[in-house]
């Protein structure tokens, strides 16, 4: 409703109903809509962005190295592994389900890669692909038992958590730790930096330009089709809102070793799967299942197939994340995928704003959420605080995120939006 009506439109469009949501053009209109969304509980990414700023401020005041290029660059690289796993979790959460096996699957994939590549001398690329496929198969198996047999996903993936961890120990064999080639492909995942200054700035420019052109094309098409489109001023604001963090990040990475490969892959995956969720019929089906399984079935959607594919995707992302985590320690060992990894991945998705109730979420929440968790971990390590306190604080942040999710859902219900 932001375009001005031309005289022809005034003839064809029936007189507006007073209840219609008409947005005023210009910035007053954006602000109005923003305030309306906040009041009705559509908080989106706002809480996590505010939280991230608060966390950064607190740690920066305690230790000025926190916002330094080295710390932030390392923080991003460390976050990539857990973040990639969280992207898969976002898909599962949108279905309204949970995947508890991702930690074990990531460990298993690392073990499979290490054994194939180091013990059996298989080329790195084929070993990597087989390791990722291991994750796909594991996820598809969970999906099969959930979607076809009807076992609750919680129980299936809990069995997976135990089972795949056992298989990983079996695969690793008696000595328990296999060191990876420290100049190999997997080692590069978290250790390679594009040291050329142009790489980071070039990629930032590409992203901003790409976004702007795509948005402009969309607005043109909408105008031509006579449906409401975004005003040029809004396009400019949105592009600027993307450009500022993109160039800031590029500048920051160039202050240290350059653009990390891990960040390129992680952000690339987030962007690609964001488009898959919002812009493809597959993504639409995933959201439909999160909204109402019965409605999806009646609309002719193959419910078991979509469910299985989502769990297969989650398994694949877990395996990919496992590669990054193995790359960080340059080894696959018995504790791969254990500890707080599973909880961190799920917490990242939820803290980032993906609803536990299904039907709402975006892949960007994996990025934002994992940055929150990693910031806390990194800041605590910088200040020399024990991991006991770190767990408690991360737990509190997770609780806060879930409370925000539940309260916003309740507000949306009273505002008639859930």
């Amino acid at each position: 409703m932001s375009t001005d009506l031309t005289p022809e439109d005034a003839v064809t469009v029936p007189p507006a109903d007073p209840r219609l949501l008409v947005r005023e053009a210009g910035f007053a209109g954006y602000w109005q809509e923003f305030a309306r969304k906040l009041r009705s509980g559509e908080l989106g990414s706002l809480p996590v962005v505010v939280g991230l700023i608060v966390i950064c401020l607190v740690f920066q005041l305690q230790d000025s190295a926190f916002l330094g290029a080295e710390n932030l660059s390392n923080l991003f690289v460390t976050a990539a592994g857990t973040g990639l796993i969280a992207v898969g979790i976002v898909f599962v959460l949108i279905l309204g389900e949970i995947d508890l096996s991702v930690g074990s699957v990531s460990g298993l994939a690392a073990a499979v890669f290490a054994v194939l590549n180091i013990k059996h001398g298989m080329p790195e690329w084929s070993a990597l692909i087989l390791a990722l496929l291991t994750g796909t198969v594991a996820g598809a198996l969970h999906g099969f038992f959930f979607a076809r047999i009807g076992v609750p996903a919680f129980v299936v993936t809990l069995a997976g958590l135990l089972g795949w961890n056992g298989l990983m120990l079996q695969v690793l064999g008696s000595n328990g730790t296999i060191n990876l080639d420290d100049s190999g492909l997997v080692a590069d995942l978290t250790n390679y930096y594009f040291s050329d200054v142009a790489a980071a700035y070039g990629l930032a420019t590409l992203a901003v330009l790409g976004y702007f052109l795509a948005a402009l094309r969309d607005a043109r098409r909408r105008e031509a089709a006579g449906v409401p489109s975004r005003a040029p001023s809004e396009l400019a604001v949105r592009t600027a809102a993307l450009a500022v963090p993109a160039y800031a990040a590029a500048w920051l990475f160039n202050q240290y070793k350059g653009l990390p490969l891990a960040v390129v892959i992680f952000v690339g995956v987030v962007v690609v799967f964001d488009l898959v969720l919002r812009r493809t019929s597959y993504g639409r089906k995933v959201f439909a299942l999160g909204g109402s399984v019965e409605a999806a079935r009646r609309a002719g959607i193959n419910v078991p197939l979509v469910r299985m594919s989502v769990f297969a995707l989650s398994g694949t992302m877990a395996a990919l994340g496992g590669m990054f985590l193995a790359s960080q320690i340059n080894a696959a060992n018995q504790s791969s995928g254990a500890g707080s990894l599973l909880m961190n991945a799920i917490a990242a998705a939820v803290i980032g704003g993906t609803s536990l109730f299904g039907g709402r979420g975006k892949t960007w929440s994996a990025l934002l959420g994992v940055l929150v968790i990693q910031s806390i971990a990194s800041g605590m390590a910088l200040l020399g605080i024990a991991s006991a306190v770190q767990y408690m604080i991360t737990g509190a942040v997770l609780l806060a995120a879930v409370v925000i999710d539940s309260v916003s859902r309740r507000t949306q219900k009273t505002a008639g939006r859930a």
């Binding site: 949501l21 969309d218 639409r284 999160g290 909204g291 109402s292 039907g359 008639g416 939006r417 859930a418």
Partner: protein, 259 residues
């Protein structure tokens, strides 16, 4: 009204184990006609609708589509013929917006990528031709009122260009104003030349929009009435079985004719 009914049921029977749910049921729907299907709970209304919609095929009898006999074994077949069914429990996804719900399962996409612009344009066009008023086509349907949701569900069924629309209790659980909206929409469907089967418990609604009323009682036809020339009491007694013989029914008719 054309001579050939778009949809006709001849002697349809359906049995569930020991229960004879439908016995020799006859029903005709003409284009541009609203037929109300009424009956007490358990009279077989839902079973009859399921045989037409292909959810529970009939055991016996013939279904004629535009004059030729067809077999409707699956919901897909019914949809391909041009029969759209709007069930009582709406089947909308609360988290998707109006456009998303209208096109759910038949998205306009090029190589898997959604064409949101075209879908939004078509959605607005469809809603405009039906004079459906909703706040915005881009808000989640959870934000709509019950009547608006019902109109979206009905509009959704029209995207497949059906010739017959079955509405299962479309006004149950709706307020006065919302019921009026839905009834307006039913009249617009008739104006577009669609055959409408309206299942309802509400006699006021039936009297307001239906052309004919088909009464089912204990799985059998219990009379078909022209709405204009029939009193509400007559329909209700046919539903409850208070006038379960031809003599009383003829008596009532002659009495009214002589008024």
């Amino acid at each position: 009204m054309s001579a050939t009914p778009v949809l006709a049921l001849r002697g349809v029977s359906k049995r569930f184990g020991a229960v004879q749910a439908l016995t020799d049921v006859e029903l005709e729907i003409h284009p541009g006609e609203v037929v109300a299907l009424v009956g007490d709970n358990g009279a077989g209304k839902s079973t009859l609708v399921k045989t037409i919609a292909g959810v529970g095929p009939a055991d016996d009898g013939v279904i004629e589509w535009e004059g030729r006999p067809v077999r409707i074994e699956r919901p897909h077949t019914a949809q391909e013929l041009g029969i759209a069914t709007v069930y009582q429990d709406l089947a909308l996804c609360d988290n998707l917006d109006v456009v998303g719900n209208l096109f759910l399962g038949r998205e306009i996409a090029h190589a898997g990528v959604l064409d949101e612009v075209e879908m939004e344009r078509r959605a607005r066009e469809l809603l405009a031709t039906l004079s459906i008023r909703i706040p915005s086509v881009r808000i989640p349907v959870a934000a709509l009122s019950g009547g608006q949701r019902q109109t979206v569900a009905i509009a959704r069924s029209l995207l497949g260009e059906p010739k017959v629309v079955i509405l299962d209790e479309p006004t149950a659980a709706l307020g006065v104003e919302q019921t009026a909206q839905v009834l307006d929409l039913v009249e617009r469907l008739r104006e577009r030349g669609l055959g409408v089967i309206l299942i309802s418990h509400n006699m006021a609604d039936v009297k307001a929009v239906a052309d004919r009323v088909a009464v089912l009682r204990l799985g059998r036809n219990n009379g078909t009435f022209e709405v204009r020339s029939t009193s509400q009491e007559e329909i209700i007694s046919a539903i409850t079985g208070a006038t379960d013989n031809a003599v009383t029914r003829r008596k009532a008719r002659t009495a009214e004719a002589s008024k």
